[in-house]
């Protein structure tokens, strides 16, 4: 836990992405692109700004180490499918957005995609001590305030009685 917190603090403070513990730069770029399609950036931060790749990299280096082979295998399969569909193109991260989305739609039901979705959602919305949800970006998307101390009335309908 402490290592995770220190890692998150360093990641938030540095202007450039830290060296990855487990991921290659290409894998990191692909995962960043997938995460950005799962929870995109619009007028509010998305998974990218929340630090999805930092979260995943740290998880694979620690508590989720046993999931590394499956995740890397899935990423290889995804890139293989991209080359099959568009032989002239490069890795997933370099594809135009529409192609990224269509490829992800094709693998939506797979354990690989469900695993990355789980990780992306955790990275965005879980407690920042796990390495993601930087600057509480995920909680801002939801409108959740981590104050843990409230008084009635709590919403509009109970306020009006």
């Amino acid at each position: 836990m402490r290592a995770s917190l220190l890692h998150a603090v360093r990641a938030a403070a540095s202007p450039a992405p830290p060296p990855w513990q487990v991921l290659t730069p290409e894998e990191a770029a692909d995962l960043d692109a997938i995460a950005a399609q799962i929870i995109p950036t619009d007028d509010l931060p998305g998974a990218r700004e929340a630090g999805a790749v930092q979260f995943i990299d740290h998880a694979l280096a620690t508590w989720a180490a046993d999931q590394r082979p499956a995740l890397m295998g899935g990423l290889r399969d995804l890139n293989r499918e991209a080359s099959r569909r568009w032989p002239e193109s490069g890795r997933f991260a370099t594809l135009p957005a529409e192609r990224q989305v269509s490829l992800l739609q094709a693998v939506e039901g797979t354990p690989f995609f469900q695993g990355i979705r789980f990780a992306t959602v955790a990275a965005t919305f879980a407690d920042p001590s796990w390495g993601g949800n930087r600057a509480k970006a995920g909680w801002r998307i939801l409108g959740f305030e981590d104050r843990f101390l409230w008084q009635a009335p709590f919403g509009d309908y109970d306020a009006e009685g």
Binding site: L44, D127, I141, G143, F148
Partner: protein, 555 residues
């Protein structure tokens, strides 16, 4: 801050070992210790003090911080006994720390009604099930319901369908939430009778503890304010203050020790914090380890004297496993509810509590307006707050939906009866072991069709209520076969006939005169939901009875 505690030597023959320090164990220990008896409480989990509790969903729900961890204590599941039970296919989840389920429960606190104890007499048997009356009545348990409410601290106002009570609630209800206001609006339009939800949460200061601070993190979390009325900081410190009670955490009991000649219990064998085997001697043993672990422990205690497990001459240890049905309808509204603040549920209806044969199926239940979600769980979807089976799960529409819905959504949850089936059971897996080398828990469970019919019935009423309340959008969570539960009931049922029950009406096992048990496993019927209230009333009654037996030399 725990005071300097009494410590007993393992080779000292204390009066009682209590296994489990949770909703029942904490109360039984206190009832025994305050009557002059020496008690060691063995808890498999750690002792965590309230100031150490955290609101970290990932740690608590996905890393098993205070619950049984499937990586260390795996379970196998199949719907029926003649199918292969698979690891990870189902789970009986329980809190694993001093205070047990009373630390992390939602704290909804419903008494049984009179009918719950005598429904088989009223409706007749239901073929293919173990549907039966309790050997005790509501009237016999009522004083102990009252004692639990006043001694632990429960907030509420009786509703129109409530059973009789000898005293009012000690504390007024928690403030109504937006979900409660909307629920009342819709329910009243349809002619139903909304009432405040009774909660084992202090609505104001009581017995030196603060009232609820509305943090919004009840279900699955400990309460750092001590406003949720857990045994951890109510009865357990009272037991310890007698100087006759030791709470020994990180002590995982693997068997009740038995003298093969007399057949009596002589104590328990457990793994200490270093996984070293220890034996605690005692004159009697009370199992309060929850509806999954109590039967498992009895089965693991088999010996040449008791080849089919301890206290199991009936063959019913582990059998008649019951959950409560749980079904959900979601609704989103125009303006802000902010249901992620404060307690989970503030209003409910019990208009459908009674079974009605005219419906064509057995079942009864209640509906409450609640929000079981937290940020990560809500975004993930699933039991912590789904956005509906047709909702987008990734992409720009998903993000927009999360943003629009988190503070504008509520759920109506239906809570129902579960019928007891002999094929629904806890047993020992023949091959899989846990991290201590003990047989893993295996369970089989298949809902009776009436249980599912009752859930769908309440869902239909719930959707009508949400529509009447003006929901913009509603969705039904599909009612699926149960593979997971936190309400673990029925597995060592109470009865007067030793051929068809495991314990007698005083919680003494029929087979072993100095072995007792009291927790959700004692239940004969499931009730309509929120079993902790009844578990705790039973524990107060059992503790008093068992102490009387001890003092009269009748153990």
């Amino acid at each position: 801050m725990p005071q300097a505690s009494t410590r007993f030597r393992t080779d000292e023959q204390v009066d009682f070992v209590v296994v489990g320090s949770g909703a029942a164990g904490g109360i039984v220990a206190k009832e025994l210790a305050t009557r002059g008896l020496k008690v060691v409480v063995l808890e498999q989990g750690p002792r965590i003090e309230p100031q150490q509790f955290e609101h970290d969903e990932f740690k608590y729900f996905f890393r098993s911080a205070i619950t049984n961890n499937p990586a260390l204590q795996p379970q196998t599941f199949a719907p029926t006994p003649n199918q292969d039970a698979k690891r990870g296919a189902g789970m009986l989840l329980y809190a694993r720390l001093v205070g047990g389920g009373s630390v992390h429960f939602t704290a909804n606190y419903w008494r049984f009604h009179e009918v719950d104890f005598a429904e088989a007499t009223k409706l007749g048997p239901i073929s293919g099930t173990g549907f039966a009356d309790w050997p005790i009545t509501y009237a016999e348990l009522e004083p102990y319901y009252t004692k639990a409410e006043w001694e632990l601290g429960v907030s509420g106002t009786p509703g129109p369908f409530d059973p009789p009570r000898s005293r009012p609630y000690p504390l007024p209800p928690l403030p109504v939430k937006a979900s409660g206001v909307l629920f009342e609006r819709g329910a009243k339009q349809l002619g139903f009778h909304p009432q405040p939800t009774p909660l084992a949460i202090l609505s104001q200061p009581y017995q030196g503890r603060n009232g609820c601070q509305h943090c919004g993190f009840c279900l699955g979390f400990g309460c750092e304010h001590r406003a949720k009325s857990s045994t951890l900081y109510t009865v357990i410190p009272v037991a310890e203050a007698t100087g006759r009670c030791e709470i020994r955490p990180n002590s995982y009991v693997r068997a009740v020790d038995v003298d093969p000649r007399s057949g009596r219990a002589t104590g328990v064998i457990y793994f200490d914090a270093n996984k070293v085997e220890q034996r605690q001697r005692a004159r009697a043993v009370v199992l309060c380890a929850n509806g999954a672990e109590t039967p498992r422990l009895l089965l693991m205690s088999q010996s040449s004297r008791y080849p089919q497990g301890l206290a199991n001459s009936s063959g019913l240890v582990g059998k008649y496993l019951m959950f409560n049905g749980y079904c959900s309808v979601g609704g989103t509204f125009e303006r802000l509810l902010n249901e992620w603040k404060s307690v989970a549920a503030s209003r409910m209806i019990l208009d459908f509590y009674e079974a009605d044969p005219a419906r064509g199926f057995y079942g009864g239940g209640g509906i409450d307006a609640r929000f079981p979600g937290y940020p990560f769980g809500f975004a993930l979807g699933g039991i912590f707050g789904s956005l509906g089976p047709d909702a987008p799960t990734w992409g720009p529409a998903y993000k927009q939906l999360l943003r629009d819905s988190f503070s504008r959504t509520m759920y109506l949850a239906g809570h129902t009866t579960s019928l007891p089936l002999a094929t629904n059971a806890v047993s020992l897996d023949p091959t899989l072991k846990d991290a201590w080398g003990l047989p893993a828990l295996r369970f089989t469970y298949q809902d009776h069709p009436d249980d599912l019919a009752m859930q769908r019935f309440l869902q239909s009423k719930s959707q009508q209520i949400l529509d009447a309340a003006g929901a913009r959008r509603t969705w039904l969570e599909p009612v699926q076969p149960s593979t997971f539960s936190v309400h673990l009931l029925g597995t060592c049922r109470m009865g007067t006939d030793r051929r068809t029950s495991v314990i007698d009406p005083t919680h003494r096992t029929h087979d072993v005169p100095n072995l007792f048990l009291c927790d959700g496993s004692s239940f004969v019927t499931s009730g309509r939901g929120q079993p902790t209230c009844t578990i705790q009333a039973l524990a107060y009654r059992a503790g008093e009875r068992i102490a009387d037996f001890a003092r009269r030399g009748e153990i």
